[in-house]
C-alpha cells in the first residue's frame, strides 16, 4: 500500500482515492475550471497528509482511554429492548465488559435474521420463525397425566398450536423415540399414549418418564428460546434470543449474507476471525451509541485488531493479551506478579526492555513519541564540521 520515496512515505494513490471519494462525487457539480479542480484535489491531498498520525504516537493508550473514559458515564444495569418489548439484550457497561473479557457466550445471545426476497412475506416469515424457535413437548401440550391402570403416560396436545406450528403428531412420536429408548407411542386423536417396553413398570419410572417427555425437543433449533417477527421498512426481520449460526443458516429462505449474531466466538468458529473482528467493532459501536457516547471507529478497530491478531479471540486481561506479553516485567506489573517472575526464572528468560512500563521501572526514557527521537542542536562547531564535510 505504501511506497517509500527518499525516506518520505507516500500513500498509494488508491488509498487517497478512497478517502477522496467525496471529491470524485462532487467535482462535476462544481462550476470551476480544470485547473482549479486540480488545485482542489491537491489541497485535499495535502490536507489528508496533514492529518496523518505522527511517528511514535501512542495510539494504543489513546484508543484505550477513548473507550474507557466514556464508559465511566454509561449506565451500569441497562437493558435494551430489541423488537418492541419482547427481548431484553444486555447493554451498557456489562455488555462492553463481556466483549473485552471474551466470554465464550454472551449472557443474552441474540440474532437478527433477514429473509430472502421470495420469503419476505408475513406468513412465510412467521413460518420460518416457528421453525427456528426451540419447541419442546411441554410447549405444545395441554396436559400430561399418568394412567396408572395401564401404566402409561398420556400427553394431551394443544391442537391449535400444533396446527399453527404444523407439527404432525407422528413426528412427535418419532422425536420422542429418538430421545428416549424402549418406548412405544400411539396416537389417539389429540392424545399420545406412551408405553414403556419394560417388564416391571413402577410409578416412579412413569414419573421420571413424564418429566423426560416434557423436555423432548420437537421442532426448531436448540438454544433459541424466542423468535419474533418485526417489520422494519420493507423487510420482515426475525429477532431471536439465543444464537446458533450454523443451524439457522441451513434453514431455507434465510438471507445468510445479512444474518447477524452477537456471539463473537460463534462467529469466529462459523464465519471466521475477520467476521469476528467486524462484530467486535460493530457491537461496541452500537453499545456505546445507545449510551449516547461518541467514539471514533479507529479506536475500536485497533482494539478489535489486537484482540483478533493472533487468529483467535484474546481477552483484554490477565488470561488474554496482558498475560501473553513478551516482557516479564510488564506481565509482573499487571497481575500475578509472583507467578510471572517464577516462570521467567525457571525458563531463564531475558527482558529486552522494549515496552513502556519496563522503561518506566528502570528509569529510562520510554521509546514512545518524543522518546524515540533526540534533539540535535546546530552549534557553531557543528556547523563548521558540516562545512568541512561539504568541502
Amino acid at each position: 500500500m505504501f511506497e517509500v520515496n527518499c525516506g518520505v512515505i507516500i500513500m498509494d494513490e488508491s488509498v487517497v482515492q478512497d478517502v477522496l471519494g467525496l471529491y470524485e462525487e462532487n467535482i462535476d457539480k462544481l462550476d470551476i475550471s480544470a485547473k482549479e479542480k486540480g488545485a482542489l484535489k491537491k489541497s485535499l491531498k495535502d490536507k489528508y497528509r496533514d492529518m496523518y498520525y505522527d511517528y511514535g504516537d501512542a495510539i494504543g493508550v489513546i484508543a484505550a482511554q477513548s473507550i474507557s473514559e466514556p464508559a465511566t458515564q454509561t449506565t451500569l444495569r441497562s437493558y435494551h429492548r430489541a423488537a418492541g418489548i419482547g427481548l431484553n439484550i444486555t447493554q451498557g457497561l456489562p455488555r462492553i465488559l463481556e466483549i473485552f473479557d471474551a466470554r465464550k457466550a454472551p449472557v443474552t445471545p441474540a440474532m437478527k435474521i433477514y429473509l430472502k426476497k421470495e420469503f419476505n412475506t408475513k406468513i412465510k416469515a412467521i413460518n420460518i420463525a416457528s421453525s427456528i424457535k426451540e419447541t419442546n413437548l411441554k410447549h405444545i401440550m395441554v396436559l400430561d397425566s399418568l394412567d396408572l391402570g395401564n401404566m402409561t403416560v398420556e400427553v394431551e396436545l394443544d391442537k391449535k398450536l400444533i396446527d399453527k406450528l404444523s407439527i404432525a403428531p407422528d413426528k412427535i412420536v418419532s422425536a420422542v423415540k429418538r430421545k428416549i429408548k424402549n418406548l412405544n407411542g400411539t396416537i389417539d386423536g389429540n392424545k399420545i399414549i406412551f408405553e414403556m417396553n419394560k417388564d416391571k413398570v413402577t410409578v416412579k419410572d412413569l414419573q421420571t418418564l413424564r418429566f423426560k417427555l416434557r423436555e423432548v425437543h420437537v421442532k426448531g433449533i436448540k438454544g433459541i428460546t424466542h423468535c419474533i417477527v418485526e417489520k422494519t421498512g420493507d423487510d420482515f426481520v426475525l429477532y431471536t434470543l439465543g444464537s446458533n449460526l450454523g443451524k439457522v443458516s441451513k434453514i431455507e429462505g434465510i438471507d445468510i449474507s445479512r444474518m447477524v449474531s452477537n456471539n463473537i466466538f460463534e462467529i469466529a468458529d462459523t464465519v471466521g476471525i475477520e467476521a469476528a473482528r467486524t462484530t467486535i467493532v460493530s457491537e461496541i459501536t452500537e453499545t456505546l451509541r445507545a449510551q449516547g457516547v461518541d467514539t471514533d471507529v479507529r479506536h475500536l478497530l485497533l482494539v478489535a485488531d489486537t484482540m483478533t491478531q493472533s487468529g483467535d479471540i484474546q481477552a483484554i486481561g490477565r488470561y488474554g493479551l496482558s498475560g501473553s506479553k513478551s516482557s516479564v516485567l510488564a506481565r509482573a506489573n499487571f497481575e500475578e506478579t509472583i507467578k510471572h517472575l517464577v516462570e521467567a526464572a525457571v525458563a531463564g528468560i531475558s527482558d529486552e526492555l522494549n515496552g513502556i512500563v519496563e522503561n518506566v521501572m528502570i528509569g529510562k526514557t520510554a521509546r514512545v513519541g518524543t522518546g524515540l527521537v533526540e534533539v540535535a542542536m546546530k552549534t557553531q562547531t557543528s556547523a563548521k564540521v558540516d562545512e568541512n564535510n561539504k568541502k
Binding site: F2, I9, V15, V19, K47, D50, M51, Y52, D54, D57, G60, I62, A63, A64, Q65, S66, S68, E69, A71, T72, T74, L76, S78, I85, G86, L93, H226, I228, L241, D294, D296, R298, L301, L302, T306, I316, G317, L321, K325, V328, L329, A332, N333, T337, I338, V342, A344, V346, A347, G348, I349, S350, D351, N354, G355, I356, V360, M361, K364, G369
Partner: protein, 830 residues
C-alpha cells in the same frame, strides 16, 4: 551513564549465595543486654547500617552510603523453595527417579503445554527402572507412589539430570537442584530496617521476625542432628523449618496457616512485598513520587486565559526552574537573586559549576549575586509565562494532564479558566489539582508544543472540541445575541473594552449580533441549527421564526443565536470551525473573547432564578391533573383485564411482565405529555433559558420542579419491594395501582407526600449505589485496556505495531488519520 540493556531472570545458585554473603548467621539472638546487635545474629552490622553515625563493618560506609550486604544461613537439611513447587513437580514427573534421565520423547516437547499432555512411560527408557506416578500433596510435599519424597531425595534426583535434558524441558534458568534450598540468603538490614518508636522501643521488620524463626529452628535441628536425636523429632523439626521458610517466601499460601505477628496481624513477607497495588511493582517501580510539584484547591477565574493557570504566590516561591547563567540572561538572573527567596519572581538556590549548592537567604543574597557568573545554575522561582503541567485525578484520558502558562496571583488556590473544566472533569466544590514543573528545556519545549491546553482542544476520542464554553457562557451568549437585545454605544464600548477588542464604534445603537460579529474572525462561514431549534418539519433557514438558524458569513453574524451548539464542548460548531480553519491559537482567542463578553453582559443584565420561576399557570396544572386521571383510568382498565386473565400476553413474557410493561409506559406517557406542555407553556424566564440553550438543566428538570415527577423505578421496574404483597402499610395487599408502586403525583415545588418521598428515596439510593459500583468496574476495565494496548505505537511506515515489532494494523486506524487532527473523524465535513 550506565544504562540497563536487558534483565535476565535466573535461579540463584548456592555458590552465588555463598559468594555474595558477608556473614554466616548462626544465632537466633538479635540484641544483647546492651541493646547492641549480636554478632552472627540477623541484625549483625556487617549486613549494613541504618542508624546514622555508625559505620558498616563490611564496607565502612555510613548510613545512606552503604547499600547493605547479604548474609546467609546454612540450612541443616534441604527444604523446598515453595515458589518453585510447580517446576519441581514437572522435574520430578518427567525425569527418572533413579537415573535422572528424560522420561518422555524430547522431540515431542515444544512448550509447557505440549509437555503436560505427554504420557509418562511405565519404565524409564534409559535405565529401565519402573517409574511411579508423582503426586503433589497439599500444601508442600510430593509422593512417589506411597513414598513421601524428601527435599534431599528430590535434590539427589535433580543433580543427575543432564544439562541437555534440561534444555529440552525448557529449563534454562540454572540447575533444578537450586530450587531446593540448602543455603538461605539473608537480605541486608537496609532491606528490612527496624524502626525506633518514640518510646525508645525497637520495632523489627516482618522479615526480621521471620528470619529469627528460621534461624532458631535451623539451630535446633542442627543440634538434634549432632546429638543423633530420634527420627520423628528430626522430621518434626524439619517440617517446622519448611513451614517457616515457606511463609518467609509467601505468607498467603492456600492450606498453610499464615505466620502472625505477636499482635495477631499477618506478617508481610517476600511475596507480599512485591504483589498487588501496594507492592513494590505497582507502587514503587511503576508509580514514582516526584519533586517540583504542588497541590491545592482549585477555584474558577473567568478572566484568566484559557492557556493560563493562576498559582498562589506562596507556591510560586517554592517551585523552581534551574536556569544556567549565560551572557544573555545574567542580568535577569542577578535581579532574581536580588529579589530573594520570599519575593515574587525571586530565586531559592544557586549551584556553582563545581556542584556546590547554596541556599539564597535575605542575608546573603547580595553576596551570592556578586558571585553569580556564567556557568552557574540558578534555581529561579516560576514566574508568569513559564510552562507547568496541571493535572486532576482520576486521570482518565490524556486531557487530564495539560500544560498551562503560569500566572502568579495572590491568595491560596489554583485559578483556572472555566473552559478547561470539561477535559479535567473539574468543579469547584473542593476539588484539588496537582501541578508539576518540568525541569529541563527539552521537557518544557515538549510540554509547550504537545500538551498546552490549546493543542488539546480537539479530543482524539471523537475529533471535536472538548474545551469550550459552559453554563453562564452559553446563557450569556444567548441573551446577547437573541432577537431584541439592544446595546447602547456606551455599553458596547464598555463590553468590548472588557473583551479586549478595539473597534471604532460608529453607530449609536448596536444589536447583540453586531457585537458578536466584532468577535468572530473575518472569513468565517458557518451555518447550522442552534440548540434552541424547535425541530419544525421544514427548516426556513435564516428566516426561522425562533431565530434558531445560525448563519455566519465572512465573520458577520447574520441570523441565529449563540448557544450550546456554538461554543460548548462536544457540540460547539463555531468553535470547531474556527479551530479547524484558523488554528488552535485563534480558537483560544475566540473562546476568551466570547466567554468574557458573555460574562460581562450577564453581569450587566443580571441572571438568576427564583422559586417563582417554577410557577406554572393554573391551566397547566389542571391539564397535568387531566393527564394523570386519563392514564390512571387506562391503568385501572389494564389491571382489570389482567385480573380477569384477559390480557394479551406479549411474546416471551409472562402476563405479569406484560402488565408491568404496559402500565409503566402509560405512566411515563403522563410525564412526557406534561413535559411537552411545560416546554410550550413556560414563561421565557432565566430557568427556561438555561434549559433551552443547553447551559444547564433540562426541560425534564423543570417538569420535575413545576409539573410532575411521575413513576419511580428501581432497576427499570416499578417498586415492588417492601412488605408481603405490598410496598407500604398504607396500601392494600395486592394493590397494583400506580400510587401503591411508586407513582409520584406531586412536583418538587409543591412537595412530596411521605409515601412519595419514601419511593423517591429508594430510587435515589439506587442511583448512588450504581455510580459507586460503576467507577470500580470501569476503573478496572480501563486498567486492563490500557495495559493490553499500551505498547502499540505508530511505526515509521504508518503501521501500528507493538513493542516487539509485531504489526497490529498495516495502516494505523485503517486510513492513517489521527482523529484529533480530523473534523469529527472525517477529512472534510460537508
Amino acid at each position: 551513564m550506565v544504562m540497563i540493556d536487558k534483565i535476565k531472570f535466573k535461579l540463584i545458585s548456592p555458590k552465588m549465595i555463598q559468594k555474595m554473603s558477608a556473614i554466616l548467621i548462626t544465632t537466633s539472638e538479635v540484641y544483647d543486654a546492651d541493646a547492641y546487635p549480636v554478632e552472627g545474629g540477623v541484625m549483625d552490622t556487617r549486613m549494613g547500617v541504618i542508624d546514622p553515625g555508625i559505620r558498616c563493618k563490611t564496607c565502612g560506609g555510613r548510613s545512606g552510603e552503604c547499600q547493605g550486604h547479604f548474609g546467609h544461613i546454612d540450612l541443616a537439611k534441604p527444604v523446598y523453595n515453595i515458589l518453585y513447587l510447580k517446576p519441581i513437580k514437572t522435574m520430578l514427573t518427567y525425569t527418572c527417579g533413579s537415573c535422572g534421565g528424560l522420561l518422555v520423547d524430547k522431540d515431542k516437547i515444544k512448550d509447557d503445554k505440549t509437555l503436560n499432555k505427554l504420557t509418562v512411560p511405565k519404565t524409564c527408557p534409559v535405565c529401565n527402572e519402573p517409574v511411579e506416578k508423582i503426586k503433589f500433596e497439599r500444601p508442600m510435599s510430593f509422593k512417589r507412589g506411597n513414598h513421601v519424597i524428601t527435599a534431599e531425595e528430590s535434590r539427589e534426583q535433580f543433580e543427575k539430570i543432564s544439562d541437555e535434558d534440561l534444555k529440552h524441558l525448557n529449563f534454562n534458568g540454572g540447575r533444578p537442584e537450586w530450587m531446593i534450598l540448602t543455603i538461605l540468603p539473608v537480605p541486608s538490614i537496609t532491606t528490612r530496617p527496624s524502626i525506633t518508636l518514640t518510646s525508645g522501643e525497637r520495632s523489627e521488620d516482618d522479615l526480621t521476625h521471620k528470619l529469627v524463626d528460621i534461624v532458631r529452628i535451623n539451630q535446633r535441628l542442627l543440634n538434634n542432628l549432632e546429638i543423633g536425636a530420634p527420627e520423628f523429632i528430626l522430621d518434626d523439626l524439619w517440617e517446622l523449618l519448611q513451614y517457616h521458610i515457606a511463609t518467609y517466601f509467601n505468607n498467603e499460601m492456600t492450606g498453610v496457616p499464615p505466620a502472625r505477628h505477636r499482635s495477631g496481624r499477618q506478617l508481610k513477607t517476600l511475596s507480599q512485598r512485591l504483589k498487588s497495588k501496594d507492592g513494590r511493582f505497582r507502587n514503587n517501580l511503576t508509580g514514582k513520587r516526584v519533586n517540583f510539584s504542588a497541590r491545592t484547591v482549585i477555584s474558577p477565574d473567568p478572566m484568566i486565559g484559557v492557556n493560563d493557570v493562576g498559582i498562589p504566590e506562596k507556591i510560586a516561591s517554592e517551585l523552581t526552574i534551574p536556569i544556567r547563567g549565560t551572557k544573555d540572561n545574567i542580568d535577569e538572573l542577578k535581579a532574581c537573586i536580588l529579589r530573594g527567596p520570599d519575593a515574587k519572581d525571586g530565586a531559592n538556590y544557586v549551584i556553582r559549576p563545581d556542584g556546590l549548592k547554596k541556599k539564597i537567604i535575605d542575608m546573603n543574597k547580595e553576596y551570592i549575586m556578586n558571585e553569580f557568573s556564567e556557568g552557574y545554575i540558578l534555581e529561579k522561582h516560576i514566574s508568569d509565562g513559564d510552562i507547568v503541567l496541571f493535572n486532576r485525578q482520576p486521570s482518565l484520558h490524556k486531557m487530564s494532564l495539560m500544560a498551562h502558562r503560569v500566572k502568579v496571583l495572590p491568595h491560596k488556590t489554583f485559578r483556572l479558566n472555566l473552559t478547561v473544566c470539561t477535559p479535567y472533569n473539574a468543579d469547584f466544590d473542593g476539588d484539588e489539582m496537582n501541578l508539576h514543573v518540568p525541569q529541563t528545556a527539552e521537557a518544557r519545549a515538549e510540554a509547550e508544543q504537545l500538551m498546552l491546553v490549546e493543542k488539546n482542544i480537539r479530543s482524539p476520542r471523537f475529533g471535536g472540541p472538548i474545551i469550550g464554553g459552559v453554563q453562564d457562557f452559553i446563557s450569556g451568549g444567548y441573551l446577547i445575541t437573541r432577537e431584541g437585545t439592544v446595546i447602547s454605544k456606551e455599553l458596547a464600548a464598555q463590553l468590548l473594552f472588557k473583551v479586549g477588542v478595539v473597534v471604532d464604534l460608529k453607530k449609536e445603537i448596536y444589536t447583540g449580533k453586531e457585537l458578536m460579529s466584532f468577535i468572530l474572525p473575518k472569513g468565517l462561514d458557518v451555518e447550522y441549527q442552534a440548540n434552541i431549534c424547535k425541530k419544525c418539519g421544514t427548516c426556513k433557514k435564516e428566516k426561522c421564526t425562533h431565530d434558531a438558524y445560525v448563519k455566519v458569513a465572512d465573520g458577520e453574524m447574520i441570523s441565529g443565536v449563540i448557544d450550546q451548539n456554538a461554543i460548548s464542548p462536544f457540540k460547539g460548531r463555531i468553535l470547531d470551525k474556527i479551530d479547524l480553519e484558523f488554528g488552535h491559537s485563534e480558537a483560544v482567542v475566540f473562546l476568551e473573547r466570547i466567554t468574557r463578553l458573555a460574562t460581562e453582559y450577564l453581569m450587566y443584565r443580571g441572571f438568576t432564578i427564583s422559586v417563582s420561576e417554577e410557577d406554572v399557570p393554573q391551566s397547566v396544572k389542571d391539564d397535568i391533573n387531566g393527564f394523570v386521571d386519563e392514564h390512571f383510568v387506562k391503568v385501572y382498565a389494564l389491571i382489570d383485564e389482567f385480573n380477569k386473565g384477559k390480557i394479551e400476553v406479549q411474546p416471551g413474557l409472562t402476563p405479569e411482565e406484560t402488565l408491568e410493561g404496559l402500565i409503566l409506559s402509560e405512566l411515563f406517557e403522563i410525564v412526557n405529555k406534561s413535559q411537552n406542555l411545560i416546554a410550550k407553556e413556560a414563561k421565557d424566564n432565566d430557568a427556561q433559558i438555561m434549559a433551552k440553550t443547553g447551559a444547564r438543566g433540562s426541560i425534564q428538570n423543570l417538569t420535575f420542579m413545576a409539573g410532575i415527577i411521575g413513576p419511580e423505578t428501581v432497576q427499570g421496574h416499578r417498586i415492588f419491594r417492601g412488605y408481603k404483597d405490598r410496598t407500604l402499610p398504607h396500601y392494600k395487599r395486592g394493590d397494583l395501582s400506580a400510587e401503591a408502586h411508586g407513582f409520584v403525583r406531586s412536583c418538587y415545588k409543591q412537595g412530596l407526600s411521605p409515601t412519595e418521598f419514601f419511593f423517591e428515596a429508594m430510587k435515589g439510593r439506587e442511583g448512588i449505589m450504581d455510580s459507586s459500583l460503576k467507577t470500580r468496574i470501569s476503573g478496572y476495565m480501563q486498567r486492563r485496556l490500557v495495559n493490553a494496548l499500551q505498547d502499540i505505537l505508530v511505526a515509521r511506515d504508518h503501521s501500528a505495531r507493538d513493542s516487539s515489532g509485531r504489526i497490529v494494523q498495516f495502516v494505523a486506524g485503517e486510513d492513517g488519520i489521527d482523529p484529533s487532527k480530523s473534523d469529527g473523524g472525517k477529512l472534510i465535513n460537508v
